[in-house]
Symmetry: C2
Subunit: 115 residues, 2 copies
Amino acid sequence: MVAKEALSIDKASAALKLMGDKTRLTMLRILADHDCCVCEFVEIFNMSQPSISQHVRKMKDIGMIKEQRRGQWIMYSLNQGFEGYEMLQQVLHQLPVQDHHLEELIQKGKRISCE
Amino acid sequence: MVAKEALSIDKASAALKLMGDKTRLTMLRILADHDCCVCEFVEIFNMSQPSISQHVRKMKDIGMIKEQRRGQWIMYSLNQGFEGYEMLQQVLHQLPVQDHHLEELIQKGKRISCE
DNA sequence: TGCGCATATAAGTATATGCCTATATACTAA
DNA sequence: TTAGTATATAGGCATATACTTATATGCGCA
């Protein structure tokens, strides 16, 4: 069994800085259970689409999340290949499940499911 | 066995924001192994004393670290009673040990040990 | 008391962050 | 091609952050 490489302070602090924003942390907690697209986050956070897009971009830029286009939508998910993925998971598992946001979305008929 | 209370998003993001700074994260990683005083951090980070003092204050203000006066010095340590203590520990354990900073300090004869 | 060391606070400044509106790009479907 | 929807980018603005220097406070000891 190979010893686990420690995460550098630089990389960890960059990841933690992004996690240190309430909006992004909530997004990440949601993504821990379900993939989401930008327009769902816009509904959930009641925030402008460009704001959401910028939060998402920052997380994508450091490899924390990844995107996959599905037709018109781009679905975002946690990137299991992210170097800080284990740390991220450990943090997210200490946080309350955020399913109520998705349930609201479903009630409003706004949940995207591109099958 | 009582189920562990989840940490609120608000409290977690406040803690993560503080951890998201390279200087503070390194301080915390050091404190995971050894108590330190402000003047030691000043040596280690080669930064002005007020800067260090302000970093320390932010972490103290949210209860992440605690202080104990020992004569002339104030020793800082991780606060085991901090609500996010477990999360903090999990993050810190993913980071490389920072003992080299203390070893440099000892070589320079600047390590404080108030016995 | 008064000096020296450790730490804290105040005030100023440059940069970073997070939001907005306006606009551009990408895809779908008529 | 054109309209409609989803997302990204650009630019601007207000606030937050991280540093600095100057000064105040707290403690130990002669």
